[in-house]
């Protein structure tokens, strides 16, 4: 078995083991944790192998490729491989899932089913990040989306049925658009009598006719954009996040929403460069609207989860914005932002879940002075808030810096003006984040909440993992950027020639 397939096989084995052998919460979480630790070892191993391969001068665009025919009739292959960005995304997924398991340490009821659904979701995400074939990619994409319905519907809170249905239908509707685009790419690729193909590396060699690119690019962009919270298709996200259980919000905002930006980067723009340039200006407006609209909406909210959900819309809007700017600096920023936002938002949702688990309130107007009651959680919350508003030293800063510098590198006034608009979101973010921490964390303590339990060891572990990586990205950005630059250089080629 090659090292990449193991990333999909191990979770499947975990799921089977849980289905067949585990009976209760303790066994299920131990199996899930053991499996994910194995994934962690493999993820670190993959990074080392990747660095060694590049050091040794392996310049191929994708490493560790494996290509097995699947439906030979359709030329659909199980084709996998990784480059810098996917290596990092795999690491991100592993860490967030592990943190998610720690956060759900005491999940009730149906705990076994919870971990099974969580790992199934993770399987889809891993598969998505390693696929190099559109068919394989699509299969994994849908595997990642559908467990969400059960996860939110069964273990969620508030209007969970509504939120779960809305999320599933919107994401599946988006994937339906994507499906049309995939078939379009596939059947227009048979130029000059070649068999049509789903293989992205081969598709990039065959140039898709310009007219078809103009038709199918927006379908693919909206298809991926919906899961990346593209305005106005983001509405599933606040409801979904607010209703989801903690670990699911973490995984969803932290990893699943990254599928959007990653898909646009890896598939949509790479395969349809001329379509991307044609639609660039139009989608830029949507992206900038999302950035500012998300930030402004977050000010209005009083529910902790809604604040963070809209903040995610705003910050992921920046990813799309940066991708649409089409230059290397902005793209580096986009990928770094994906990574950084994954850790920050997961930390946020983890903390919100822990605080909510103690106070049973998410309304910020009803909480005060949490610093004295749950000091560790409060400090972590302040860290997350500062990282989110882009304080230097944390991951948010380096990512957003790259994005905005990349935006200004464009010569035309239109894009520079839009960049100015997008930059204002930083100020707005600072407003809602500081106001929130000021009100909730500091200030006089409310009597109702005194005597709440301090953080448990499993909660501390989850926080430690996430904070560690937020600071690692913030303080060592160039180490992370070497991975990203490597793939950006390859994948931006068709667009800037």
């Amino acid at each position: 078995m090659d090292i990449l397939s193991l990333f999909v096989v191990v979770p499947v084995v975990i799921v089977l083991a849980m289905v067949l052998f585990t009976k209760n919460l303790k066994q299920a979480r131990m199996v899930a944790l053991a499996g994910m630790l194995m994934q962690l070892i493999m993820s670190v191993n993959l990074i080392v192998k990747y660095l060694n391969a590049r050091e040794a001068g392996d310049q191929s665009i994708m490493l560790f490729q494996k290509n097995i025919p699947w439906f030979a009739e359709f030329n659909a292959h199980y084709h996998i491989g990784v480059d810098g960005v996917s290596v990092l995304m795999i690491l991100l997924t592993t860490l967030i899932v592990i943190a998610g398991i720690f956060v759900s340490w005491k999940i009730q009821p149906l705990s076994k089913e919870f971990f099974i659904s969580l790992i199934v979701l993770a399987t889809g995400v891993y598969g998505f990040f390693i696929s190099l074939d559109l068919f394989t990619m699509f299969v994994f994409y849908e595997i990642a989306v559908i467990p969400m319905y059960l996860l939110i519907g069964i273990w969620g809170s508030g209007p969970r049925e509504y939120a779960a249905m809305k999320l599933t239908l919107m994401l599946m509707g988006a994937s339906a658009l994507l499906l049309v685009a995939l078939l379009g790419i596939y059947f227009t690729s048979s130029v000059g009598g070649q068999a049509p193909t789903f293989d992205i590396l081969e598709l990039a060699q065959r140039e898709m006719p310009y007219d078809w690119q103009k038709i199918f690019y927006p379908l693919a962009f909206i298809g991926f954009g919906t899961i990346g919270a593209l305005f106005p298709f983001h509405t599933w996200s606040p409801d979904g996040h607010a209703s989801a259980p903690t670990a699911v919000s973490m995984l969803h905002a932290g990893v699943l929403m990254k599928l959007g930006g990653y898909g646009i980067f890896r598939f949509a723009m790479f395969l349809m460069p001329e379509g991307a340039l044609f639609w660039q200006d139009f989608f830029l407006i949507l992206a900038v609207t999302g950035v500012t609209y998300g930030a402004l909406s977050a000010i209005q909210q009083t529910d902790l989860k809604y604040i963070n959900a809209y903040s995610s819309v705003s910050h992921l809007g920046l990813v799309l914005f940066a991708l649409l700017m089409i230059n290397k600096t902005a793209w580096n920023g986009a990928m770094l932002q994906s990574l950084s936002h994954g850790f920050i938002t997961a930390l946020f949702f983890a903390l919100i879940g822990m605080i909510y688990g103690r106070t049973h309130v998410r309304d910020i107007t009803k909480m005060q002075g949490m610093m004295r009651i749950v000091p560790l959680l409060s400090v972590a919350y302040v860290v997350a808030a500062l990282a989110n508003l882009g304080l230097p030293g944390f991951s948010g800063f380096v990512a957003e810096m790259n994005i905005f510098v990349g935006g200004f590198l464009n010569q035309d006034l239109y894009k520079q003006a839009l960049t100015v608009f997008a930059v204002t979101s930083i100020v707005v973010t600072a407003v809602y984040m500081l106001r929130l921490t000021g009100r909730m964390i500091f200030g006089p303590t409310t009597k109702v909440y005194t005597g709440l339990p301090k953080a448990f060891w499993y909660e501390k572990t989850a926080i430690a993992i996430l904070v560690l990586f937020i600071t690692l990205i913030g303080t060592l950005p160039f180490w992370w950027l070497q991975f990203i630059e490597d793939s950006v250089n390859n994948f931006i080629q068709p667009l800037i020639k």
Binding site: F71, G153, M165, L179, L183
Partner: protein, 474 residues
């Protein structure tokens, strides 16, 4: 004619022999041994099913009014396999409801006769054989629809079905006679070469299409479906929605792709419109259904619309996609109906709301239901996804992107209602859930077979490759 050439009709001979043996057994067995008829029928039919999967030659009989070739042979085997699973599911129902009236042998004889009719219909080389097969497949099913004669809904369903079936038969016959009047023959091969495209022939083709469309329950010929499915015994609804629909789709496919291929321009727009209409109407009506059987009826109407996507392709890819889809569809629908059947038999409950909290009491049954519905909705890694994907691909191969766009939007709508039973079973809790019960071994075996099929047939491409290898019918 010698024995070898008669063996071309092996499937039909064997099935007839099964029917005859059951008839003899019914006469010979004494009253208290009647219950062994069920086992006997299962064994005999199981043997027939196995024999149906053994390879057979290609050839024609009776002045090419009967034709067999690998695709039709294996498709018959697939249908037989589907019927076998349905029989497994019906054992408990037969024991409880029909054994007291001593009606078990009749049930088997009727359902096998209907399958025999489907076999003749699919193998038909001219309109005469085709029509005989069609009627032979329809008539026993009408009797079976009204089989729960103590239940007035069942009888009502039977009457509805016989009225609409006769009308559609009449329309079809009129269409056949118009084609005969212009082409001068009822033989498919002769017709194929004699087509001149006068208006009369097109009208004839449309009428034939209406007749078959009735069996496939295409909109606007679908009005019988929901009422009949709801009233008929669940196993018969199951048979109607997968087996008899599958046979009719096969015949429509061969007629359009082979015999009337010269008319493609004309029938394309009919298919295009009917596909959209069927998907949209089926989906919209399914949204508001409370009764699971009506729900599955409208879902099966919508699925028929998706099959028409591939009908538009008129190429080998379309044949593969349709056959593969029907295979998967048999597995998914039989599993879904099976769950409805065992619950309805155990508790008499058929509404979606009754399923609230099902997972907490009957986890395995709920999982089967979920996987079957996911397969119908087309969600990977369940096989239904691959089947639907190939249907789209077949339509896309001829550039019908707008139609695919409409279809995928419909899939999203359909996802909503396929999630409703899942929501009831998994998300909700109920004060009075369906209590835990053990299903009988026969239905359990049926569930295991369908689940293996749904989880393996998609991810493992071998079955599709096999179908690909025999799909050249042009």
């Amino acid at each position: 004619m010698n024995l070898d050439s008669l063996m071309l009709m092996r499937d039909e001979w064997f099935l007839t022999a099964v029917i005859m043996l059951l008839l003899i057994a019914e006469v010979l067995l004494s009253a208290k041994n009647k219950k062994y008829i069920i086992q006997l029928a299962l064994i005999l039919f199981g043997a027939y099913t196995i024999s149906a999967f053994l390879p057979n030659d290609t050839g024609a009989l009776f002045g090419s009014s009967y034709k067999t070739y690998p695709l039709v042979h294996y498709f018959k085997a697939i249908l037989a396999f589907g019927v076998f699973i349905i029989l497994l599911q019906s054992v408990n129902w037969l024991k409880e409801k029909l054994l007291p009236y001593d009606f078990t042998a009749e049930f088997f004889i009727l359902i096998f006769s209907s399958l025999l009719g489907l076999n003749f219909m699919m193998s038909a080389g001219d309109f005469l054989m085709f029509y005989i097969g069609l009627e032979l497949s329809t008539m026993p099913i009408i009797a079976l629809t009204a089989f729960e004669f103590w239940n007035h809904r069942s009888v009502e369903a039977g009457v509805k079905y016989i009225l609409l079936a006769s009308i559609s038969s009449a329309i079809l016959l009129f269409g056949v006679s118009l084609v005969y009047a212009t082409a001068g023959s009822i033989n498919f091969d002769v017709i194929k070469n004699a087509l001149q495209l006068p208006l009369l022939e097109i009208i004839g083709l449309i009428m034939i299409f209406i007749g078959i469309g009735f069996k496939i329950s295409l909109v606007p010929f679908h009005f019988w479906a929901a009422d009949v499915y709801e009233g008929a015994p669940t196993v018969i609804s199951n048979y109607l929605s997968v087996i008899s629909k599958g046979g009719a789709v096969y015949v429509l496919m061969t007629l359009l792709f082979v015999t009337f291929t010269a008319f493609q321009k004309e029938w394309n727009w009919i298919m295009y419109g009917t596909a959209i209409l069927t998907m949209v109407v089926g989906n919209l009506f399914a949204l508001r259904q409370q009764n699971m059987k009506r729900f599955l009826a409208f879902s099966s109407i919508a699925q028929a619309g998706f099959i028409l996507l591939a009908m538009l392709s008129n190429n080998e890819l379309g044949v593969k996609a349709i056959i593969y889809f029907l295979l998967i569809y048999i597995f998914s629908n039989v599993a879904a109906f099976g769950v409805v059947h065992v619950i309805s038999l155990k508790t008499g409950k058929e509404n979606i709301d009754d399923y609230n909290g099902l997972y907490r009491t009957n986890p395995k049954l709920s999982l089967v239901l979920m996987i079957a519905l996911f397969s119908l909705a087309g969600i990977p890694p369940v096989a239904g996804f691959f089947a639907k994907f190939f249907l789209y691909a077949a339509a896309a191969s001829k550039g019908y992107y707008v139609l695919i766009f409409i279809a995928v939007l419909n899939v999203t709508v359909s996802l909503y209602y396929y999630l409703l039973p899942v929501r009831a079973a998994f998300l909700r809790v109920s004060d009075h859930p369906i209590p835990f019960f053990k299903s009988d071994n026969y239905s359990r075996l049926a569930f295991i077979i369908t689940m293996i099929g749904l989880l393996v047939l998609g991810l493992y491409s071998g079955v599709f490759e096999f179908i690909s290898g025999i799909s050249n019918i042009f």
